[in-house]
Symmetry: none
Subunit: 142 residues, 4 copies
């Protein structure tokens, strides 16, 4: 399965709905395909300028390493030297904070969502809400 | 006036409507704010992977030089050495083909739209249609 | 369909067999997946050092633009300013010479092969021979 | 002695055999020559996208610093500031985790193997198994 633009836009709409219900700070939300290339993106009014790059780095990090950035951030705490070198190896294509979540379909990774703007925990909640709203499973991330 | 996410999404929706009416090849469409930062983005199913980067470079080039990429591409033909050096100077943040168009409001530049996927002429037509559909003037580009 | 390591290695073996039959200069051959990420690579003894980067840029250019580098090189002749800017936009991820060929399965692009070392024509012949040897269609490139 | 493509492919085949015997996670394996340039590469099905870059950075780091990445990672723990600066100095061409091992012949460094995908310890075991299978000594790494 290829992640369609329609599915990506549904994920983003669901994530932003969840953000407004929580009165989250303004967010940037990006959805990448399985190769790490952008499918859709939205930056809410008032979100600061780095949010696109950070959101993309979260999503790309999740795809590139095969885990959510929550898991990666935990692992990085125990091995900071290696994960700092990984950041340089991949040219900054990873950000170690929750909010980067894999999109799976029938067990396969079909893409990732990345959110930045509020706390990592809030960013991730909105990401998971977006996946659920668009009909994607979020169990494998737990 | 700051270009809102709502306005950016309306521009993209209008551009993609125009693309489907013309049976254009799959497009990537990006809208940047006045600082050149992404507000919204969509890549249609089947669009090749560089389309995001090229669309962004068209939009960024338009903002960066203060003219549509149609005008820039014409000027580049008459002075290729200078414009090649500009490409290097700005780290590839410009693509010399029609499809990058400034978004203006009350005379001020509030952002730009960039499209890639079909011919430059078709990309630009869809960009102008998106601006018109969202209620932005396109006269100043002519 | 995802391009497997087994398929990628079969393509490379077939391409190198063809190269030896033609007494081609030493080649570098890379196979990328649909997202442009390397699956397998081989550089023959005596191939010069840039061959990996050029082979990869041919394969990535084919995927990124959705056409073989033979077609892209022809188009670039008619619009050099634009294609020079594209080279910068994508950070050098394209090389305008034959030898980058899409790998298709059931109509979908599943990857690309890139070869560098001999003339562009010879590089492309070996690429097509590799695809044929591994059971992939090469018709859509003609 | 120059590391031949044949030798590099034997090392990779041996490493992947060892990986499958251990039921390791999907791996990426790269072999570089004495100048740090890729000779051969393979990414197993299911390995995540950064694995090529990380494997290459392990192998390049080993060649660049003249020690296995196990030794380098140990040294980095005791002097993190310096090794972080090295990471930046060499543009991300090093990853501080076991799995990057020098290939020696008659005492001379002729190349390096880098593996990423499982734990650093498992990656390194597979690298050493690949060297042994291809008839290279691994004693100097101990």
């Amino acid at each position: 399965m290829t992640l369609s633009l329609h599915a990506a836009q549904s994920i983003i709409a669901g994530a932003l709905d969840a953000a407004r219900q929580r009165a989250a700070k303004p967010l940037a939300v990006v959805v990448l395909d399985a190769g790490g290339h952008p499918v859709a993106f939205a930056r809410e009014d008032g979100a600061s300028l780095f949010r696109f790059d950070i959101a993309r780095a979260k999503a790309m990090g999740a795809i590139g390493m095969g885990d959510s950035t929550r898991v990666l951030a935990e692992r990085a705490k125990g091995n900071p030297i290696f994960f700092q070198s990984v950041t340089a190896v991949v040219g900054g294509d990873v950000a170690f904070s929750p909010g980067g979540v894999l999109v799976r379909h029938a067990g396969a990774i079909v893409g990732a969502i990345g959110i930045s703007g509020d706390t990592g925990d809030c960013d991730e909640e909105c990401a998971l809400a977006g996946l659920a709203a668009a009909g994607f499973s979020t169990e494998s991330e737990q």
